[in-house]
Structure formats: C-alpha cells, structure tokens
Assembly symmetry: C2
DNA sequence: CACACTATAACGATGCGTGAGAGTGG
DNA sequence: TCCACTCTCACGCATCGTTATAGTGT
C-alpha cells in the first residue's frame, strides 16, 4: 500500500499551522523536520506534522530551536521511553523555572513602568497651563 | 573651570553599569551615546551616564534600542517639555499594554507547561518498574 | 620586559522577513 | 498566455558575544 495520503505541499502546511513557507524551510535547514521530495517540491508527511506541532509548542514554552532539536532527537533515539521522558521532564523543569523568573521580572517591570507613567502624567497635568517648567532637564 | 571630573574610561563605565565594552561601543555605533575622545580612547561624560541609565531602564521595559533612541532624541530636541513628555507617556502606555499581554501569555504558558510536566511525571512514576511501554510513539 | 587596558575589524548566533529571479502545472 | 505556487540563493534586522590583532601607558 502507498503512503497514507498525508503528503502535504508547503502552502497547505502553512495554512494548517499558521506559519510561513520561510519558517518551514528554515526548520528544515535546522534539521527539525525532513519533508520528502517530489522533484524540487517539498511534501510533508504525518511525521512532519507531528514534529512541527511539537516544535510550535516548544516555542510557545520558550525553548530555543536547538533545545527543541535535542528533544526531538531524544524521541528519535527512543532507546528507552523512560530515559527520554526523564530528560524531557528535566528540561521542562528548567524551562519552567526560567519562565517563572521571566514572569516575575516582567511583573516588576510592569509595576515600575506604571509608577513612572503615573508620575509623568501627574507632572503633565500640573504643567499644562502652569508656569515655566522648572529644572527637569538633568536627564540628557 | 574644566570638565566636572566625570570623564570616565570605558572599563570604569562597564563596572559601574554592569555592561561590557562591546555593549557601550555598540550603543555608540547606534548613536545612543557619544563619548568624547582622548586620542582613540573613549571618555564618558556625565551626559553619557545619564543617557546610559535611561537606555538600561528602557531595555528593562522591553523598548527596542531604536525606540529608546527616538525617546532620547525627544529629550534632546526638548522644544517644549510638554510635547516631549506627552509623547514619552504615549509610548510608555503602548509598551505597558504590550508587556501586560506578554505577561498573560507567559502565565498561560507556565500553567500549561506545569500541567504537562505533572502528567509526564505521573507517567514516569507508573512506568518505572512497570511492564512494557504501551504505544506512546505516535509522536515522532 | 611585562601586564592591564584599550582600539578596530569582522565573523557568529538566533529566528526568521523580504525580495530577486526562475521554474512548473493547470 | 497568464496565474498561482514553488524553488533557491542571499542579504537584512536586532543585540550583542567572541575572537584576532594591535597599540598605549605604567
């Protein structure tokens, strides 16, 4: 029997996953996915789709493409499911901590920017229609 | 009277602000700061320090260097304080919304990754010492 | 002489965007 | 003939890190 009718051209893949052709070719160059060829044209298999799905998830989690590649390689080796999953979980825990750190920094930065913004607008309000601007120029 | 003794060489600046020489030179190439010269060597003025401080704050808030440059230019023009501050506040509000969006996405991603991680570790626990791994391989 | 500090130049990494120019199928 | 889709270069962007190589001052 022939290939299970999941040989998708690049345009269709892009529509399916909301990415550009450039992105898919880029991932291929980085050896994250390996579509088969019909002459020059790429045809994406079921396997490609599964991997792309994992790739996009990984990116949402902030993994770099290189980290993702390593995770995908783990799946490919697949010596022992346990080894692979253990490693994946380790990386996930690290990522999680990094993300929580980022979130905290971001939250702090948001609070600070809010404060400054409030002060800025307070100054603006009192200056609009007021006298000569005092000395606020030690900045530049 | 001579310059108010704030002519700092690059190494000292780097120590003060926790950046690398490369970074300062890069900012100079991008016209964000303009140290004076003693022959070849750069000497950073009080003005440079003030601007660098703003730059680093801006970066913590996620402004791009280009946005920061425009904000610094606004300060330099300084036609009317009001005009300038108004613009700055506008940009800050935009940034703030972007940051809150980021934070929300990040929060969601963290929650999702936590879930997956929990499930992964649950699977690991039940497999460690169990029978043959079922079919979990439709992934790759 | 050595050692610390500085300088320029230029390539590398990340994750693609954005053409240019050409081919292929309907 | 034309349109839509695809292909392969290959440069550009942002933000520096990282050598490599050389000069200068103490």
């Amino acid at each position: 029997m022939p290939v299970p009718q999941s040989l998708t051209p690049i345009g269709t893949m892009c529509a399916e996953f909301g990415v550009t052709p450039r992105t898919l070719r880029f991932y291929e160059a980085k050896e994250l996915i390996a579509p088969v060829r019909d002459g020059q044209r790429r045809l994406y298999t079921r396997r490609c789709r599964a991997r792309l799905k994992l790739i996009l998830q990984g990116r949402r989690f902030g993994f770099s493409l290189e980290e993702i590649r390593q995770l995908l390689d783990l799946y490919d080796i697949g010596d022992q499911q346990v080894t692979q999953m253990t490693r994946t979980c380790e990386l996930a825990r690290e990522r999680l901590r990094a993300m929580e750190g980022q979130r905290d920094e971001l939250t702090a930065a948001i609070a600070e920017l809010k404060e400054r913004l409030a002060e800025g607008e307070r100054l603006l309000a009192e200056r609009r229609g007021a006298a000569a601007p005092a000395t606020v120029r030690e900045l530049t």
